[in-house]
């Protein structure tokens, strides 16, 4: 799914030595000119140290988000009501894992292995989108995730697909194509509940109420408090500001929710007719940082499940490292 962007900088990232922090000025200038001309940067090309570092961070977090993002929805595959929903949900979650795979491959072109990235995720050093640290409590949650979180992710990913790093852009193009189907299946399941029995409507309203704040958090802190933005925008690593993407999301989706007679739990949410921009109550940003730093309702569980999968699968990965190795035959 899910970019869910620019949320985190490794606190314990390795400090570069002094000479590594400075790129040769001529090379840097040529690099920046290429980007300004709209050229894509490819794996073998020269790139600034910081560009490489930020891209690895970004793509890796995106990949982790896909893999962890499969968990809250994945737990509902076995409970999806009816053949149509069941098949659609398996296919969708499978796609997300596939996106993770594509993104790990893209990040590997920058010099960090999939194993190293996964280890950093399991140790908590590398993060994933905060939104997956909340539980999917009912079937309606699955529809809200499939509709609105995928929608939010598309806003983010369509922007990033126009970025400067070739392998990431190409991965994102394919991802966006699949995500648009996810959005359709999420929307379809969401509408089914919204237009259903009173109990089904209550379910979906309740899910919306619970997910609204995580969705508002999804695009990251407001621009006024965002750090390292300017250079990343110039290098086309970051393609749109957090507030810009949030506004774009609200513009496209709030009317669709209201049309269905559902409400959103923010009395200040409205479009300002003069500015053309959406206004809303600031979500609780302390909560956002608390969850990023491990204090969310599901952080521990998500990592525990991933660690379990890694441990259970270790013998298989080990065996794959020994292709063709016959077992030792007994001597006598």
């Amino acid at each position: 799914m899910y970019g869910g962007g620019y949320i985190f900088d490794e606190p314990n990232g390795k400090q570069l030595r002094e000479e590594q922090q400075h790129d040769e000025p001529e090379k840097l200038a040529a690099f920046e000119e290429r980007i300004a001309r709209g050229e894509k940067i490819e794996p073998g090309d020269w790139m600034p140290v910081e560009y490489r570092r930020q891209l690895i961070r970004l793509i890796e977090q995106h990949a982790h988000s896909e893999v962890i993002g499969a968990l809250p929805e994945g737990t509902w595959i076995t409970r999806a009501p009816g053949f149509k929903r069941k098949l659609a949900l398996i296919a969708k979650v499978q796609d997300e894992i596939g996106h993770g795979q594509l993104l790990y491959n893209a990040a590997e072109t920058l010099g960090k292995s999939r194993e190293a990235m996964i280890n950093d995720m399991l140790s908590g050093k590398s993060k994933y989108s905060n939104v997956f640290n909340y539980p999917a409590e009912t079937w309606a949650d699955v529809t809200v995730i499939g509709f609105l979180i995928d929608a939010a992710a598309i806003v983010n990913q369509v922007a990033n697909a126009k970025g400067s790093y070739g392998p990431y852009c190409r991965a994102l193009e394919r991802i966006c194509y699949e995500e648009s189907f996810h959005l359709k299946q999420g929307h379809d399941a969401f509408i089914e509940l919204a237009a259903g029995t009173p109990a089904q409507r209550d379910m979906v309203q309740d899910a919306l109420n619970r997910w609204w704040q995580p969705i508002m958090h999804f695009f990251g802190p407001p621009d006024k408090s965002s750090q390292h933005s300017e250079k990343l925008m110039q290098w086309k690593v970051k393609m749109a500001s957090n507030d810009e993407m949030r506004n774009q999301f609200l513009e496209s989706y709030v009317p669709k929710i209201w049309e269905l007679g559902l409400t959103l739990p923010d009395p200040n949410l409205r479009k300002n007719a003069d500015t053309g921009r959406w206004e809303y109550s600031d979500p609780d940003w302390d909560e956002f940082f608390r969850v990023i730093n491990g204090g969310g309702p599901c952080n521990e569980e998500r990592l525990r499940v991933r660690k379990w999968a890694e441990e259970q699968g270790r013998w298989v990965r080990k065996a794959l490292m020994n292709p063709g190795q016959k077992r030792a035959m007994p001597v006598a």
């Binding site: 009816g82 499978q94 298989v316």
Partner: protein
């Protein structure tokens, strides 16, 4: 058709196996030993559940059975006719992989035989399914051979998994005493005994290439019961979970 009851019995057995194993395979989504296997199991889960759906639709449309969703999501445990093999929890990857290998080879010989079935819907379905099963068995064969030839632990796990599943897999071929003769006489399919034989011919070469020892089939006791509604303790919780949302309101549209 005079053999409707027999046809229904065969379809339900096949479909229930596919649904329950599809359900089990889908539990690997997000948890596989490598991402590629996550994706593979989840893809095969979709195919299995798709086959079950197609079979329940034949039951509904051609033989006057219930709507597929209702038939799959509301039916009682006792009315299921799945084999014990597919009901067991996934366990570790070695068990799941061996089950996948043994089941998909069995499924393949079954659908191959249905290409010439006197029951037309079977012919159509088997043509569609054939292409999918080709990839399932390719996948299973490749992994069985790969892991059996990749060091001590991996080999030992494969052999143990085979020892633990072979009698369960033989249970796939449990015939229904009251219908089997009719189905064979009416040329619906060649019968369980014949399929059991063809299946062994199919799995044997792969096991040989894997240096795995197939237990003496004349000494094993196939695990029967599932086709008669006697199930493992694992089926009831699985069905409860599968129907959890659907059964909140069976009249609603989901």
């Amino acid at each position: 058709m005079s053999n409707n009851a027999a046809l229904k019995d065969l379809i339900i057995k096949m479909a229930d196996d596919e649904l329950i194993l599809g359900h089990r395979n889908s539990e690997w989504t997000g948890l596989g030993p490598v991402m590629e296997e996550d994706i593979a199991f989840s893809s095969m889960a979709q195919d299995k559940i798709g086959h079950a759906w197609a079979l329940y639709r034949i039951l509904h449309e051609d033989l006057g059975g219930e709507h597929p969703d209702r038939f799959a999501f509301i039916r009682s445990e006792k009315a299921f006719q799945s084999s014990h093999l597919v009901e067991l929890p996934n366990g570790e990857y070695d068990f799941s992989l061996m089950r996948h290998f043994l089941f998909d080879q069995a499924e393949t010989v079954r659908y191959e035989s249905l290409q010439n079935s006197s029951f037309a819907p079977f012919q159509l379905l088997s043509k569609k399914v054939k292409g999918e099963l080709k990839y399932h068995t390719l996948h299973a064969d490749a992994w069985i051979m790969q892991l059996s030839n990749a060091g001590e632990e991996s080999y030992a796990r494969m052999q143990t998994a085979l020892n633990n599943t072979i009698a369960l897999a033989a249970g796939i071929f449990e015939a229904s005493p009251e219908h089997e003769a009719t189905l064979i006489a009416d040329k619906v399919y060649p019968g369980e005994k014949e399929l059991y034989h063809r299946w062994q011919e199919r799995i044997y070469p792969v096991l040989v290439k894997s240096s795995l020892n197939l237990p003496d089939m004349s000494t094993i006791t196939p695990v029967y019961g599932g086709r008669q509604g006697f199930h493992t303790e694992y089926l009831q919780p699985l069905l409860k979970e599968m129907g959890e949302v659907f059964n909140l309101d069976t009249e609603a549209s989901w």
